[in-house]
Symmetry: C2
Subunit: 459 residues, 2 copies
């Protein structure tokens, strides 16, 4: 394979096989899970094996003003790893290796290590890395940090940024920096680690991270509550989170309940407007007590049925039901996965508004929600062979974001802005915050080489 | 009172009495608790009554290139609110008012509201704002956010940045921005709120904050453990934090134990090298169980004596003993309060090194530590009437920071860099991270008007 022009110079300083230009390889690296139809055709894919490789790519790219899109496991849902025409896709999937230090209760991992691999390495020392995006078995820790990934347990344990203690990051000019380390409390200097966390690859390329671990939690007790109205369910969520700290608090709307019931035949109430699945991992008998308290609260809020269990298998069955919603819907057609958030009391208005949007655009929309955080995932289901239906699905996607903005909510709770939501960011942040964002981007990447088009258009 | 030159123009746009130039008023606003001897004499103190006032001050200052030092309650310990010669001290103490929204579990407070006032307002709704710097009764929430303040409960509940959901901030050019709001999960855009949190007034002036609240925790159970060696105590801390999540885990060294014993006569073991005070606020009987587990761990690690109690008054007595260390030492002389952090396994090396430093500089140094976080507060006690002793105390202060750096620790765990630790920041962060810091500062405050001299010298 002969490499044109400057690419050969880059290949020369990297290990053989690092620079890939075959069209089918490139095709596989053009998209993340958002499958942005506007993805470009990059000149090459570079699979870095070390921070030094990443530095070499950035020095090379900075000299030639070549755009670089960084990519972890490619599981992003917002088009944050959408390739740029004529640019480089820089994959960090080969930045591997995870070390756990049980004494400082930290794990240090290459950006390409999967979230589940960090969890497993921690578990060998009876420790736990809490953040649990639904993609935890396939998404990389580098991508999790770059997007500040959330998950199901954040209602009690917080999101990715709450666990990042240190990182190695390569700037647009190829400088490599080490920030932080295995120190839980540290206020020396600006919060640079927090700034890079969630920056979606705009400010630098994260090559290694050090995360905080906590003791493995005790087994959970589980509560399921069925509600005739979303309003009653939302009232229960508010009351529950004011009284105890559940380790999971999920809500399924009627469409989701029916999708699960179709798939698993669990005898769920198909007429229910909302189902709540809540867990407590409080130590000892406290888990049972917390679940009992949540059960009382749900009944007072009008639950038509509740079921509590301390049996791990039974509890797992309901957690599995929650996880089944997406696969069950995917069997019905293509999906567009939304990620809007509102304050919990506005959940009913959001769910009803989404019902109207589904009617207006003649499309199926299921709502699953990390209800304790007000973070919802409306799932728009459509027939991919029907271009007109796909168009209506995209209009519904936009309408949901606009509804979230009307309800003083966020356009993205955990998936990120990427390219898919770029257009709505100014409406959410306001022009002054956008200007501040551009000033910080410009200060760190004056040539706008990193992830061009993510969050905003290059200036 | 006649105001010279441009000051009159500023006074004209603010409410009467907002611009103060009396020498005794200025003298009271020149320092924070660090009492930096290099503090300048400002031209005026401005007490803002609104975000609009803060904007007016910044527009006026930007036009005339006048430095502005922002000040909350003035309880900072690192000289972050040290006045600049010829500048303005901008006090936010009159930005008052706190509103709690129990439904979104948030409190929104003016920057001048005290931490304790936020806690009290939350408690009226059975909610809790966890961050608890020792100064919580006198420090402002704005200052807490600007310094990313820590405290005793962070070992379980995290630091200030973990609770800030939104803020209003005025930039150096007078632009006012609203960032975030009562939404727990939000990844739309760069982590600007996290960047301003802990920025020590360098990037903007925080005028209002929205913080996340959690349910009030149940009553705590308490454990006290006495250790013949700091090594054994540190081993106990590592083992405890690997197994359970205490809500407080403090360590007192021998000097501290003796200072408390002198003051309170509690029958503490004066020969002990370390005393650990640990608490659990797990729900129901779990608190007692967690304390029992911690007691077993401490005994296995070699505790010579342990005492566990679920009696709130007894527990409070030991928490009070911890709080008594500083006042007891202050009665003996002037103090310099250090704030270095190391990973927990390095606590013994730090404590022994500090003993050597105390010997070398013939000064008394007590160590109290938020041991679960590895964050220590060496307290250097000296006779203020003895200039030579004061000089030795300052040398010891420096030597402790250098020791922390040798042990791969941080120069400040929770008090901030301010002016007092500016000189050591490059050694800790490295030149590349300092350069990044300067680029961000320059992007947000191109005239370097805000808090000049904090963290670094103006460029």
């Amino acid at each position: 394979m002969s490499l044109i022009g400057g690419l050969a110079e880059l290949a020369d300083v990297l290990e053989e096989g690092s620079v890939l230009t075959d069209r089918d390889v490139i095709a596989a690296y053009r998209h993340d899970w958002a499958r942005d139809p506007a993805a470009g055709w990059p000149t090459a894919v570079v699979r870095a094996r070390s921070t030094g490789d990443v530095q070499a790519v950035m020095r090379w790219a900075a000299d030639r003003r070549v755009p670089v899109v960084v990519r972890g496991a490619g599981t992003g849902l917002s088009g944050g790893a959408t390739a740029a025409d004529g640019g480089i896709v820089l994959s960090v999937e080969r930045l591997r290796g995870v070390r756990v230090d049980p004494v400082t209760r930290t794990a240090t991992a290459g950006a390409g290590v999967l979230n589940v691999e960090v969890k497993r390495a921690a578990a060998e020392h009876a420790l736990w890395y809490p953040p649990d995006p639904s993609s935890f078995e396939s998404s990389s820790i580098g991508g999790n940090v770059a997007t500040n990934a959330g998950g199901l347990c954040c209602v009690k344990y917080g999101v990715t940024t709450d666990y990042v203690l240190g990182m190695e990051v390569v700037l647009a000019d190829g400088t490599a920096l080490r920030l932080g380390g295995p120190r839980v409390k540290d206020v020396a200097g600006l919060s640079l680690i927090k700034l890079f966390t969630g920056s979606e690859g705009l400010l630098g390329i994260i090559t290694e991270v050090t995360v905080r671990l906590v003791p493995l939690p005790p087994p959970s007790a589980t509560l399921v509550g069925t509600f005739a109205s979303v309003d009653a369910a939302a009232a229960a969520v508010v009351a529950v989170t004011s009284a105890v700290r559940p380790s999971m608090l999920e809500l399924l709307d009627r469409v989701s309940v029916n999708a699960v019931e179709d798939a698993l035949r669990m005898n769920l109430d198909r007429a229910a407007e909302a189902l709540i699945i809540a867990r407590s991992d409080a130590p000892g008998v406290a888990a049972r007590e917390e679940v009992a308290a949540m059960e009382r609260i749900c009944r007072e809020a009008g639950a038509t049925e509740t079921f509590a269990t301390t049996d791990p298998d039974e509890g797992e069955m309901f957690a599995a039901a929650r996880r089944e919603v997406l696969p069950a819907l995917e069997r019905r057609g293509s999906i567009l996965l939304e990620d809007v958030g509102v304050s919990v009391p506005r959940l009913p208005a959001l769910v009803r508004g989404i019902e109207s949007i589904a009617d207006r655009y003649r499309t199926v929309i299921a709502v699953i929600a990390h209800a304790g955080d007000g973070n919802t995932h409306p799932v728009i289901v459509f027939d991919p062979r029907d271009a007109e239906a796909a168009g209506r699905a995209r209009l519904a996607f936009t309408a949901i974001m606009e509804l979230a903005l009307e309800l003083d909510g966020t356009i993205t709770g955990e998936h990120g802005v990427g390219r898919m939501k770029r257009q709505w960011l100014p409406a959410y942040l306001g022009e002054d915050a956008m200007d501040l964002t551009r000033r910080i981007k410009h200060a760190l990447d004056p040539q706008w080489l990193l992830n061009p088009g993510v969050m905003m258009l290059p200036q």
